[in-house]
Subunit: 165 residues, 2 copies
DNA sequence: TCAAACTGCTTGCGATTTGCAACTGGTTGT
DNA sequence: ACAACCAGTTGCAAATCGCAAGCAGTTTGA
């Protein structure tokens, strides 16, 4: 990858890491689709990333400290990818991007419902979801639960539309 | 550009428009640096975009309805680029990206101060700044002013650090 | 008045990146 | 034993990127 940076501007530096067509989609799938294995990320995403690109992006996300990788104890060949705190804190970026796309681009109904909930929920909902991600990705102790989790609500909303069709 | 989209996901569609290393930097310069002419965008940015790439990106941003272009009445050859409402509403995306970069990447002090103010100011400050952008880019009527504008405050903070050095 | 500088781009071309397809070496389930 | 599955790797063609130079028209300054 590129070692030399074009400027010290935070937006530029962020773009040097995330400014391509795939990196944020991989993070999206890890966050919202709970995809943690290479194969899951490869085949269960809408857009169809190719394996060499996926391998390359996972490597740079590892290098940047946005994700980690560890061996799956139940399967010698599987690796489990997890978001770091740094990766989890990309949620607001994704949420704003989703809101903007939801408002201005020709999104499909079933894939837009998550954006709508995320947008309407605002920072409070994001914070709840980030706490849930810390539980599943960082192994943070589970807090008291009141009702369904944000992740479950996002998933339920998605399925309610898919089934209706 | 690519006409066929990979999926109807709002994050994916946003990335198909903005997911490269330059588009958001151009918008950043229009927003925070008030660069409105081709040459300004070409030469007065930190990162040094090349002219063919700039021309190409401006064209797609025009096609996407994120910016507009009109002739400069004071100079027959100059064009003036402006942000549309759709473009102005990318501010939260940039702000979140700047906050994340500010927190996790090795930014330079003078370029980080804007990110810090933007991050600390939160959605309230963003809304004020977006109103100012509507004034300068959309010609919206100027509202009552109480103290310096957000744009002026961002600029003053930047210069206070540059001069100190 | 006339040359120099500046305007928004465009063109040519080599270097890099992308993306498809096939393949590898190993593991797991039946 | 054998098929299916695992995380990637490799080869190669096509697309994109980015530097440098060029262009036609406009404005500026002596």
């Amino acid at each position: 990858m590129t070692d030399i940076s074009r400027s010290g501007c935070p937006i530029n530096l962020s773009l040097e890491v995330l400014g391509d067509k795939w990196s944020l989609l991989i993070i999206r799938d890890m966050m919202f689709g709970n995809r943690r294995h290479f194969r899951e990320l490869l085949t269960k995403s809408e857009e169809g990333i190719s394996s060499n690109i996926l391998a390359d992006r996972l490597k740079t996300l590892l290098d940047e400290g946005i994700i980690t990788r560890e061996d799956d104890p139940t399967h010698k060949q599987k690796g489990i990818y997890s978001l770091t705190e740094q990766g989890i804190e990309l949620l607001p970026v994704l949420a704003q991007m989703a809101s903007w796309g939801y408002k201005y681009l020709p999104i499909s109904e079933e894939l837009g419902i998550r954006a709508q909930l995320l947008s309407e929920g605002g920072p409070k909902l994001w914070a709840d979801f980030m706490d849930e991600l810390r539980e599943t990705h960082l192994g943070t102790k589970r807090r008291k639960r009141t009702g369904p989790s944000v992740g479950e609500r996002l998933q339920a909303a998605y399925e309610s539309i898919v089934k209706r069709k």
